[in-house]
């Protein structure tokens, strides 16, 4: 527990200097006499009286500054400041909203999208954003070749558009046409209902064609040895967003400056963003307490209360996550649907949530959060009922229960699973109540756990989850249950087909009942137990008045309000 007054903020180098010279006589360091600041410290000339420099702790460097080749949160966090897509996100929700495209129209067959573009928008290099630039971006993604197509590179394009120019048969994208400066028409080969929502991902942000040309954004290292970052991806990301790239001091920090020519009407208080890399969660918290940073993401559940009590601003995101208990049907006992139902009945989700998950977490009944299309209020639920679990186990031929492997990751904190060890212990005890004994199988998250659970069949029960990328049902259930996967070891063509069909229905009102039915089918089949929708939290120094927390992390720092 920290008394708030002990936490020092905004200490200057000089204060530290006097404390040091008083406390320690380090003969080698007799510079104190000349520790005079002869420059303005980077305040960047923020509006009003606030310090416009905002320091946010990132947990790692971005993988790439070229968002088309990134899929991780830290890359996207930086991308969202520099780049904008045709489609953005309605603030505070996961729903698509106009951004660089003012509006769009979909043809009757769902194959053609006409985007009306904002006018007078320029990229950071001064070139115009127009329909040609839009087509240049789409064509760039479509024409990715070789190593660029790897999942480590164009992950989202590959996943969502199902193919590149060298495989036109499977590709969803067909062509892009600039019918005028402000109108781009995009044609698809087959309907893709999540198209517009998907465009809100930073991976599909608009980048300056001339800057990409100049700095070789497409000149990925030819060798298959390792995909090397291009010059563009290291030092020249050029978008239309409210902030411009300044410098990337690898392993240390990324600096962004305000884009004075930003087309939007946002009055930004934050004029300089510094993303400092601090990979240890404990160190991030201490850095905030010491006043060295202004905020960080993914606060450990155990820390939220203490930080709030010490005067820090803790802001929970609306949960857009799912944590589930997977069951591998290659294990004979788990192949029996009665056993899987029994496990569902054996779990007291309320207790699990209140004991191990952060404030704001909701109990899950299905594999999508409530705001996602197709959420089924009437889905079959397995309310906590240990007696029923026992009788189902007896029916399945295990009156005395059985023993099964339980895999869980260690030393990792995910938005949907801040403390896996605790979740495991909790479930272990609950399962023991009904006679199911588990063999704990802890594995390090990277690289062991995911390999073990997703690639092979050597696992039993396991913990895993997902953070939604954008508001689309397919991005949840389609990912989990859309095809045969070693993770669950089941083969249910009915569900696979239903998901493939629903994905292609382009009208939301026609799609909704399909997904409601799918959610019910999944509930009947019980390939996994949906446990909870955990809410991740952010923490900020007290000078932060408001922060635009978004369920899909779509947070642009020009909307941050500061008090000093």
């Amino acid at each position: 527990m920290f008394p708030a007054d002990r936490v020092r903020k905004g200490r200057t180098a000089k204060k530290r200097a006097s404390a040091l010279t008083a406390g320690l006589a380090l003969s080698a360091l007799v510079l104190s006499g000349c520790a005079q600041s002869n420059r303005e410290e980077g305040d960047g000339g923020g509006s009003g009286d606030v310090d416009g420099t905002f320091v946010f702790a990132a947990s790692s460097d971005p993988k790439s500054l070229d968002p088309a080749f990134a899929s991780d949160g830290e890359s996207f966090r930086v991308s969202r400041q520099i780049f904008e897509g045709l489609v953005g996100v309605e603030p505070g929700t996961a729903d698509p909203a106009p951004l660089l495209a003012k509006s769009w129209e979909v043809s009757e067959d769902g194959m053609t999208y006409t985007f009306a573009l904002e006018e007078g928008v320029t990229f950071h290099d001064g070139t115009d954003f127009n329909a040609e630039a839009v087509c240049a971006n789409f064509d760039r993604w479509y024409n990715f070749s070789g190593i660029q197509q790897a999942e480590s590179q164009a992950y989202y394009y590959g996943m969502l558009f199902k193919g590149f120019s060298d495989s036109p048969d499977t590709a969803t994208y067909k062509s892009c046409e600039a019918s005028s400066d402000t109108e781009a028409v995009i044609s698809l080969n087959k309907p893709f209902a999540g198209f517009v929502a998907a465009l809100s991902l930073p991976a599909f942000a608009m980048q300056s064609p001339s800057a990409m040309e100049e700095f070789g954004a497409n000149e990925s290292s030819g060798t298959a040895e390792a995909p090397e970052l291009t010059e563009y991806a290291k030092a020249h990301p050029t978008g239309t967003g409210p902030y411009k790239f300044n410098a990337w001091d690898v392993g240390n920090q990324i600096t962004l400056d305000l884009n004075e020519d930003y087309w939007g009407d946002e009055e930004a208080q934050v004029t300089d963003i510094i993303f400092r890399v601090i990979d240890d969660p404990q160190a991030r918290r201490q850095s905030l307490e010491a006043g060295d940073i202004d905020g960080y993401d993914l606060v450990a559940p155990a820390d939220t209360e203490q930080l709030a009590a010490a005067g820090f601003k803790v802001i929970p995101r609306d949960p857009f996550t799912i944590l589930y208990l997977g069951m591998n049907q290659q294990v004979p006992e788990l192949a029996d649907v009665k056993v899987r139902q029994a496990i569902s009945y054996a779990i007291d989700k309320e207790a699990l949530v209140s004991q191990t998950l952060p404030e704001g977490t909701k109990v899950a009944t299905q594999f999508i959060p409530e705001v996602v299309n197709g959420y089924n209020d009437e889905v079959t639920e397995y309310a906590y009922d240990p007696e029923k679990a026992k009788s189902l186990l007896a029916e399945a031929g295990y009156p005395d229960g059985f023993t099964v492997d339980f895999n869980y990751p260690t030393g990792v904190s995910r938005p949907y699973m801040p403390t896996p060890e605790q979740v495991f212990t909790n479930l272990q005890a609950q399962l023991a109540e009904v006679g199911i004994k588990v063999n704990p199988q802890p594995n390090k998250w990277s690289p062991d756990y995911l390999d073990r659970v997703q690639a092979g069949s050597d696992h039993g029960l396991h913990l895993l989850g997902w953070t939604g990328d954008y508001n689309d049902t397919d991005n949840f259930v389609g990912v989990f249950f859309g095809q045969e996967k070693p993770e669950f070891g089941f083969n249910n063509p009915d569900i696979f087909n239903a998901l493939e069909e629903a994905r292609q229905v382009s009208k939301l009102d026609e799609q909704t009942p399909l997904y409601e039915q799918i959610n019910e089918d999944i509930a009947q089949f019980v390939p996994a137990v949906p446990l909870a929708h955990p809410a991740p939290s952010l923490a900020f120094s007290e000078r932060v008045e408001s922060y635009p927390a978004s369920p899909v992390n779509d947070e642009v720092f020009n909307q941050i309000k500061l008090t000093k």
Binding site: L26, L31, A35, K63, A224, G251, N252, D280, G291
Partner: protein, 334 residues
């Protein structure tokens, strides 16, 4: 002397070959694979297989080894799987940080260690002696990460005398010329930047320098004790030489030989200490980078690192041997 140095440098070649084979095998046999590090959470098993193929991890080890050495000889250390940058570039940007930290840690360890050990020997069996023995025992037994954590907790978080982590306050918009932050500030006359970098160095340097400090105290003490009882010291006294001359020219100089060896060894060990210290203080040097590489099984980085450390170690040893010659001319003759 030059011939000795040349010989030693030649000896480095077989050492490096042997070491590279051993460590290559070791690194490649660690469990797990680098693919998830590269692909992230949402990777499919097929993609993981593709990556292993692309990197050649599915080829015979012997083939992988020769490919690796072949590239190494051309100066190609490979590309980090995690960051997508060349391994040499990664070392280049991080090495100054670790050197800076190690230098300050050494100044701390030597600057306090030698006088303390000397004083302890001079006042053998009395208060100074006892307290320095106890202190050095504590210094050696307290784990580096624990000490780092305590220093940070008390001096940075509770008292606020020092920054908690990093190399420099990001709000100080410092210019970087050499990536040695203290030096940069001096070169560009941005005194506050230099000062801030020094403040950022103090706690990590104390954490990192404590074990070498404790060892230097012990060795200095033992060595001075031995020398001051030596016959030639007694002879010098009998001849009526001034005490100052005896202490400076006879005792201290002769006592410094084993201390130099120790300092050399400790310098090499600073790198391993840096892994922990840099992690606790989010100090982006090669120590922290190595730790990340271990967690992610970033093979190219680990392999490059091993070669790098082996060379660095050998060169430090060479330097120690050369410095013997200056402290004790007899060594030069031999």
């Amino acid at each position: 002397m030059l011939r000795v140095i040349g010989k030693r440098l030649l000896m480095l070649i077989p050492t490096l070959i042997g070491l590279s084979i051993l460590l290559f095998l070791w690194v490649r046999n660690l469990p797990g694979g680098p693919a998830t590090a590269l692909l992230g959470d949402k990777a499919s098993p097929e993609a993981i297989a593709n990556i292993n193929k692309a990197y050649g991890f599915d080829r015979p080890l012997i083939e992988q080894y020769f490919t690796y050495v072949g590239k190494l000889l051309k100066g190609d250390f490979g590309t980090s799987i995690v960051t997508g940058r060349s391994v040499l570039e990664e070392f280049g940007t991080r090495f100054p940080a670790t050197v800076e930290l190690a230098v300050v840690a050494l100044i701390f360890a030597i600057g306090i260690g030698i006088p303390l050990g000397y004083l302890a020997a001079r006042h053998y069996g009395r208060f100074w002696d006892h307290s320095s023995v106890v202190l050095s025992l504590i210094g050696i037994t307290v784990p580096v990460f624990f000490l780092a954590f305590i220093l940070k907790w008390v001096l940075a978080i509770q008292l606020g005398w020092f920054p908690t982590d990093g190399r420099q306050d990001p709000r100080i918009n410092a210019t970087h010329v050499t990536d040695f932050f203290v030096l940069d500030g001096l070169l560009t006359r941005e005194w506050d930047a230099s000062w801030d970098a020094i403040l950022h160095l103090v706690l990590p340097a104390i954490a990192l320098g404590t074990i070498p400090l404790a060892i230097i105290v012990r060795i200095t003490r033992a060595s001075v004790l031995e020398v001051q009882g030596a016959d030639y010291v007694r002879t010098a006294r009998a001849k009526g030489l001034m005490e100052k001359t005896i202490r400076g020219r006879f005792i201290l100089r002769n006592a410094m030989l084993p201390v130099t060896t120790t300092i050399g060894l400790q310098t090499g060990l600073l790198i391993s200490g840096a892994v922990l210290t840099e992690t606790v203080f989010a100090f982006s040097g090669i120590g922290k980078f190595l730790r990340d590489a271990i967690f992610a099984l970033d093979y190219p980085v680990l392999q490059g690192f091993i070669v790098f450390i082996a060379v660095a170690y050998s060169l430090i040893n060479l330097l120690v041997d050369v410095s013997y010659g200056f402290i004790d001319p007899r060594v030069r003759v031999q």
